[in-house]
Amino acid sequence: MIEFRMPSLGADMEYGTLVEWNVKPGQKVKRGDVVAIVETQKGAVEVEIWDDGIVDQLVTEPGTKLPVGGVLAVLRGENEAPLAPYTPAPAQAARRERISPAARKRAAELGLDLERIAPSGADGVISLADVERAAVTAPRAPEDKSAAMRQAIGAAMARSKREIPHYYLGTTIDASAALDWLERSNRERPVAQRVLFAAVLLRAVALSLKDFQELNGFWSEGRFQPAAAVHLGVGIALRGGGLIAPAIRDAGRKSLTEIMTALSDLIQRARSGALRSSELTDATVTVTNLGEQGVDMVYGVIYPPQVSLVGFGRVAARPWAVDGRIEVRRTVHASLSADHRASVGHRGALFLGALERLLQEPEKLA
């Protein structure tokens, strides 16, 4: 028997609410299949399964809020006989609200948190009337949600600052060559296929990281575990507040056009709430591009269990010394926040140097 549990979709997640099942008992599944939709503090996520097998029982009903690790379903092997009925641990069962199906549907439509609706009947079951009554008095979920998201981000960042000995490095890079090259190549592209400079920066980071594996991976169980591929987390601001950092998988092997396609897709799905669970858990390093909001530089907080974060400030025309003269060049400030347990400042500095050199040879970024 394999227990399929509520995944932790990032260091800041404590609970998830099952929205719907995409599978039925008896159905064959394989690793990577999207089997359920789970609502988190950061929106709805398509949850993938990590094992092959046959769905034996769906333990959790849609609408149920479960802690990370709570059992959602049980699988059996292909040659295994059907399992005996599964009983979840009492702590998990206690979180199940008793509610009529019509009331559950209405509460979901109204965006109400079931935990905040009190049943009025003697049977302790939340009725449709209870939901309608709660709709008048209870705070709406969107307000709750952004507070919950802030709290979740705060908890993850507090953990990061408590546990990770950060060191910070920064350098200003002449981005003129890369921008000129990009603008030339964008003139050849249809409008809808233009590439953003943000994608060029992501590609440059992914390529530069290949020689610095101590910056790419996880700190877990008291040691650094380097990652084989660069899954590049991208900080994406959500409209209405909040931040999410899903990964562009295997960014080191993607061309610039592929990175741009992946980035567009990720931003749109992050904002519409259709990310996949693996995208929220796989990032081996994260890039933040707060320069988009107009700041000159950003030194980010590492997202545990990752060990580094690269930040880019605003691209702007600035004075720049060239051969003893001042010229106006478009420059960008790049920073590295890194975990001193996994790497030393000397290597971090070499990484930023490699990034800077690569941006002077943009044809290598195509």
């Binding site: 603008e183 233009r194 909001q293």
Partner: protein, 86 residues
């Protein structure tokens, strides 16, 4: 092109990308990006939508002409008027 049509197309594109912004009180002479939360990805979506709706291909070198609402409207009206759009 009639500036009113350009203005409507621009506001439609902006509000589909950033629906939460306050368009009632938008100052026409102030930078759009100071008033509407737009990153480069959002801005590209606006450019793509303007291309689809008005048939105008706006090169990156002209992006700065779209910094304010009034600047953008006169740019779009002039560009569409010259027939240089696709």
């Amino acid at each position: 092109m009639n500036p009113e049509r350009a203005r409507r197309a621009l506001l439609d594109a902006l509000s589909s990308v950033a629906p939460e912004a306050d368009y009632e009180h938008l100052r026409a002479d102030r930078p759009l990006r100071d008033q509407i939360d737009l990153d480069s990805f959002d801005f590209l979506k606006v450019i793509v939508q303007l291309h689809d709706v008005l048939g105008i291909d706006i090169p990156e070198s002209d992006y700065q002409k779209l910094a304010t609402l009034e600047g953008a409207v006169s740019y779009l009206a002039a560009r569409a008027g010259t027939g240089s759009g696709a």
